[in-house]
Symmetry: C2
Subunit: 388 residues, 2 copies
């Protein structure tokens, strides 16, 4: 199962797109390598970019009504003329649509479009669209290519890199899926201006996560430019998207199938997942739960004597500056603990957790002392996540 | 998409299993390499073999009631004691069960068994079981291992090699699927004694196909030992299973994802598929349709001046010696032609066909003259497939 570790070859090319600058990151995964292009306004010239990538036949576009309403015209205007008879499969907007029924709706759309092994899918939307369209691509006629155009910050920094595709089932999230790398990713920070503020914040927490585990300078950048980021300044967004992708791509290139190293990307997930489950996935957006999970990991790391107090306060202050997180009130440590142990048992191991050794440097700890962690969580919840 | 061609490293090890001899073939696909073990009676010691392969945890067994009734006790006796709490997912027996509903039945069984990323599937049955259990393994938690114990001759010589897994949909066969190589294959010719004669014959046609495209000596062996094969002589069966797997493995190792070379394994399929579709998949077993398809390809090759007349008669005589094929009567050339063109159109190319250059040497022709082929098929059907 373990694939040969591949080095990330960095190939940052500046390319003028009209008056705009497009930056390109090369994700080196041997024969599954691909490029991530990030540039404000690239959606307007996407038709040309696709042709440059060899995608001359019309795609089957998978998207949702919200994205289609907000950005559909820009996409279609750029593609049309070049590919008049493209097909659009419209799926429901939201995590609850990332399921079996939607997957089969996409397959049906592919059959209706008379797709064959030479067809390709254009995933146009947030993480749900990318994950499910990518999984349809992974399994249609044993695998066809897909190009990802993520339109949320979270998707641009997270699901666009790594090739994890799949669907949710009643038993849990992403439990049916595959690894299927996209043929190319095009991220246009311009599409983020239409995001609700909670969605934008969810993406920023993910950027902070990338910085915390791997890059102090990214943390520094977000600290300095948070105001611009929250106002959707295109150059600031381009920078954080590109840097987050670079960090993820570096980790994924070294461990594509999550055998070990890739687990550091799960920073904040041990407690974050448990918080989501303990509140029946209703109170928090995933990014928000992970933000609380990072705060808990910071506090727990301090108990164990890791990390300077100054750094702990730096990250926690930054997280709280982004947006007010939904509160932890009323969540019992017992509910969190049951969810946490169940989640970990499903992976048949001890409790493991990603902790920071230093700001920008992380480690996977597989020897977490259950009673110590539980006691800490009790304290964390009573203090409403205040690290003091 | 193209993976590096890998050489087939041949590693035939004779291993005494009690008084039985087990032969082993190594399929070299880099990190997805695996071994095919063929030996009469190895089912009785399968528990030990699995442990040798590192499969110490109890498997989730996917099988059907027929196989369970005939061979379940042997399997379970050998595994039990070593793995008491194994789970069995029983699926329907027959091609019509290779569908979405059965796939989700397997997923449910995996969840009920509390399977996780460290779990593994044991596929125990014919081609349907191997294909669908393999696809469940490919997609459960983004991929878990599976071990294949094929119990039909066709599965032992065909679906056990190549990693093509998937399900049928109303739009066609195997249209949803993946490439997922097994962790190991164990073929016990002893299990073939319980096969209905048509099932055995379907497997023998597949062996003849392998010989025709790649090995004159295999054709010679089947000619000489057909009587023993039809009587399920274990050593004769072991030989043809091993040689067919060796040929398939050689081709697959050089072209895992069917970019070109692997297409030679589709010898007999251009016309065979069309015959199946033209008779609504009711009259012929897949192997029987392919047998007719090989005869048609032989006759058409003669029209084009390929192959010695003597060799054509050698193969056609051998096919007819296996068992009486269901007749071609009442099938109109128009129905066959519509199905053939539709099948080919779905692959967006011209009509291509595998033809023999010589006995044991095949080629892919992508320049088939449609009107010539149609005229030939008219003649082939009127003569009821008699090559004269």
């Amino acid at each position: 199962m373990l694939r040969r570790a591949a080095l990330l070859r960095e190939s940052l090319a500046d390319m003028r797109v009209g008056k705009r600058v497009m930056k390109t990151l090369f994700v080196d995964l041997e024969k599954r390598s691909y490029k991530i292009h990030v540039g404000n306004g690239i959606l307007r010239s996407i038709g040309d970019h696709l042709i440059e990538h060899g995608f001359t036949a019309p795609p089957i576009v998978v998207t949702n009504s919200t994205v289609l309403r907000l950005h559909g015209r820009t996409l279609l205007r750029s593609i049309k003329g070049k590919a008049d008879d493209l097909h659009i499969v419209r799926i429901g907007d939201g995590e609850r649509f990332k399921n079996q029924a939607t997957l089969w709706k996409i397959y049906s759309g592919l059959f209706k479009a008379r797709a064959d092994r030479s067809s390709w899918i254009l995933a146009f939307g947030g993480g749900v669209v990318g994950d499910i369209a990518g999984f349809a691509a992974a399994t249609f006629m044993r695998g066809i290519p897909y190009v990802n155009i993520p339109t949320t910050l979270l998707a641009q920094v997270d699901s666009a890199v790594g090739g994890k595709v799949g669907i949710n089932v009643p038993q849990g999230k992403n439990l049916i899926g595959a690894f299927h790398q996209p043929a190319a990713v095009f991220s246009d920070p311009g599409t983020l201006r239409t995001l609700p503020s909670r969605e934008l914040a969810a993406g920023i927490y993910e950027v902070i996560k990338c910085g915390a585990i791997h890059s102090e300078s990214l943390i520094g950048y977000v600290e300095k430019h948070l105001g611009r980021i929250l106002k959707c300044d295109p150059l600031a967004l381009q920078h954080i998207v590109l840097e987050s992708c670079r960090i993820k791509a570096d980790v994924v290139a070294r461990d594509e199938r999550e055998n070990d190293l890739r687990m550091i990307l799960n920073y904040g997930h041990t407690v974050g997942h448990a918080l989501e489950a303990a509140t029946s996935y209703r109170r928090f957006k995933h990014g928000e739960a992970i933000a609380w999970g990072m705060l808990a990991a910071l506090g727990y790391g301090r108990e164990l004597g890791f990390l300077e107090l100054e750094d702990i306060h730096r990250i926690s202050a930054l997280i709280h500056r982004v947006e007010t997180l939904p509160p932890l009130s009323g969540i019992s440590v017992e509910d969190v603990w049951v969810a946490l142990v169940r989640d970990k048992k499903a992976r048949s191991g001890n409790i493991s957790m990603v902790l920071l050794r230093d700001l920008g440097d992380s480690m996977i700890r597989k020897d977490i002392d259950a009673s110590l962690l539980k006691r800490y969580l009790q304290q964390f919840l009573s203090a409403s996540g205040d690290l003091g």
